[in-house]
């Protein structure tokens, strides 16, 4: 593709992203308005005094029409104000920042494990197509995305913490506490990775440049690793990007099981105590990061494989 075409494509993606981001702010804004009862009371919690409620009503512009309220909210966001949690007496942004980093760490480690194991599984499956090994790996990936993550998490905990005593069962902060949840989530991620690797490699075995490499007399191993695998990894990178995005919001249940203080855990924990500003902030943060990651993945895919016209998402 020409550089010009790529520029137009990126520009179009950015425009679409801006639209999506605005949409997510609308959802975060609407969330509080859709809660039963007065938004100011919902945001302040049950123990707010009438004067506090009155002050917030004025600050949010609750007496003004909805679109003005939305603009006020948008203006707050631009200033980096995600609201204030009365429950922990802390701005939502300060509360969510370390939790978000925890989730990023968890997602990165899970995806790291999944890529290492999944790609190897995929390569071996493609290489030994039709053998017991191939079937075994396909079975593992099927089990991986059929097993409920929270149940797998509990089983992991039962085996590794309660029976074997190897790893801490709950908590977060250091790498040791991240291992079990990351292993759990990598089980979910590795199936699709190994399948896509396998499918793309099988496709590429038929490609012209592989036939050429064979004609040049390269060894089977060199062809497999240097020519086929390299090209097969392009869709894998895309898939991994999308999975990473999903994990930022979707690791929620696993975080709850392991008491891992990530974004999802925080949202559930504060939901139980009806601390809605934190939920609103969480919706915004996870929605934004997922849509940004998805757009970056789309652009990267386009740069890596110029033949593809559309995204493979969906």
């Amino acid at each position: 593709m020409s550089v010009r075409g790529l520029q137009t494509y990126i520009l179009k993606q950015i425009l679409m992203l801006v639209f999506t981001i605005l949409g997510i702010t609308v959802i975060a804004f609407a969330f509080v308005r859709l809660l039963p009862g007065d938004p100011a009371i919902a945001l302040l919690g049950d123990f707010a005094t009438p004067s506090e409620i009155e002050r917030l009503r004025v600050a949010l512009g609750l007496d003004k029409p909805l679109y003005v309220q939305y603009l006020i909210y948008l203006n707050m966001l631009i200033k980096g104000d995600l609201g204030y949690s009365m429950l922990v007496q802390e701005p939502v942004l300060d509360l969510l920042k370390p939790r978000f980093l925890n989730t990023l760490q968890l997602a990165a480690l899970s995806i790291g494990i999944a890529v290492c194991v999944g790609v190897v599984m995929g390569v071996l499956s493609a290489w030994k197509r039709g053998t017991i090994l191939d079937n075994l790996f396909r079975g593992i990936s099927l089990v991986g995305f059929s097993i409920p993550v929270f149940w797998l998490a509990l089983i992991m905990m039962l085996i590794f913490s309660l029976y074997l005593g190897l790893l801490p069962a709950i908590g977060s902060g250091d790498l040791l506490h991240t291992i079990l949840p990351a292993m759990t989530l990598s089980m979910w991620a590795l199936g699709p990775i190994s399948r896509v690797t396998r499918a793309c490699m099988l496709d590429l075995f038929e490609a012209d440049f592989v036939t050429l490499a064979r004609a040049k007399g390269l060894s089977q191993r060199d062809i497999l690793l240097k020519h086929v695998l390299r090209n097969a990894l392009i869709p894998v990178v895309t898939l991994v990007g999308l999975q990473f995005g999903t994990l930022i919001g979707g690791a929620l249940v696993t975080e709850v099981v392991f008491n891992y203080r990530g974004l999802g855990w925080t949202m559930v924990e504060h939901l139980m105590r009806r601390d809605y500003p934190v939920i609103q902030g969480g919706i915004l943060v996870s929605g934004l990061s997922i849509s940004v990651i998805n757009s970056v993945v789309d652009v990267l895919y386009r740069i890596m494989d110029p033949r593809i016209k559309g995204a493979i998402r969906g």
Binding site: G23, F31, W151, V196, G249, V268, I283, S291
Partner: protein, 299 residues
């Protein structure tokens, strides 16, 4: 021709169709598919006749047996309140069936409508709907479920509604892509040239021709519907106690996991086998109906 003859003719047509023959052949050869189909049939049977099959009432407390391991009297053991886990798993199958099939019905209707409108109309309407779907998909189903249930309030029917809404977006996308492909095909143009109206083209020509990928998607959606409901019940937003949804049972059992793990293990196995079977069924159907696609199953 009477209704009976008509039905017989239809059945004969289905039996002659290539998909059905390939499917039958596949079932004959593949052990995995046999396993999946038997598991689904057992689930349906157990779920539909749960009230008669459960050996004890699911709510009845045998307090002197609390935390007991599996025995002849309680085949799957007893939970923290002294309730028979087997009976609760059986009633859970009933709830699972209700959740899965209601979700699939709702999300198919919603996704089909949106996808058809978007794909068939095209232009600015399509562009706007697609951007809205992008926003929709920026939230993983579990997170969207959490947000919706916070607004709607907890409970099984609200959980079903929330999961249906969350799962409708990928559906709409799929339908739209298929419609756009199909509406350019020659037989649609022919029909148009013969004076068939928009609705006629939609219902007589487009929908029948995009049904295969939809059926495949439906099998996978059944699996993810159950998984999402279980996850929502697990964080306390879905089915409420004392109803025995499998996800909720696992949630309740995790607290006393140290004393007796059976309350968590058996509902988990039921959940896992059900999801696995529907995923296998989905893969089988996809291999038959849409051999070119590679499998990416979403969370």
């Amino acid at each position: 021709m009477g209704l009976k003859e008509k039905f017989r003719e239809r059945l004969w047509l289905v039996r002659r169709s290539s998909s059905y023959i390939v499917f039958k052949d596949r079932v004959k050869r593949s052990r995995t598919t046999q396993f999946a189909i038997s598991a689904i049939l057992i689930l349906l049977f157990v779920g539909l006749f749960a009230d008669y099959l459960a050996p004890k009432p699911y709510w009845k407390q045998f307090t002197e047996h609390t935390y007991e391991s599996p025995s002849l009297g309680f085949l799957m053991g007893v939970d923290h309140l002294g309730r028979d886990i087997l009976s609760r798993v059986i009633i859970g199958a009933n709830i699972a069936i209700y959740v899965m099939f209601t979700v699939i019905l709702l999300s198919t209707c919603l996704g089909l409508t949106i996808g058809l409108v978007s794909g068939f109309t095209g232009g600015i309407v399509d562009a706007i709907i697609m951007r809205l779907i992008d926003i929709w998909l920026a939230f993983p189903p579990i997170l969207l479920g959490l947000v919706l249930l916070t607004i709607l309030g907890t409970g099984i029917n609200n959980a079903v509604l929330a999961v249906s809404i969350a799962l409708a977006a990928p559906y709409a996308r799929l339908v739209r892509a298929q419609v756009i492909q199909t509406k350019e095909r020659l037989f649609v143009e022919n029909a148009r040239a013969l004076g068939v109206g928009n609705l006629g083209i939609l219902f007589r020509h487009i929908i029948p021709n995009i049904s295969s990928p939809l059926i495949v998607q439906a099998a996978f959606s059944l699996a993810s519907a159950l998984l999402s409901e279980a996850a929502l019940s697990f964080i306390g937003l879905g089915v409420q106690p004392p109803m025995p949804s499998w996800g909720l049972m696992i949630y309740e059992a995790r607290i006393y996991m140290r004393i007796s793990p059976y309350g968590m293990i058996f509902p988990g196995i039921a959940l896992f086998l059900t999801v696995l079977s529907f995923n296998i069924l989905g893969e089988t159907l996809r291999d038959i109906m849409d051999p070119r696609s590679i499998s990416i199953v979403k969370l």
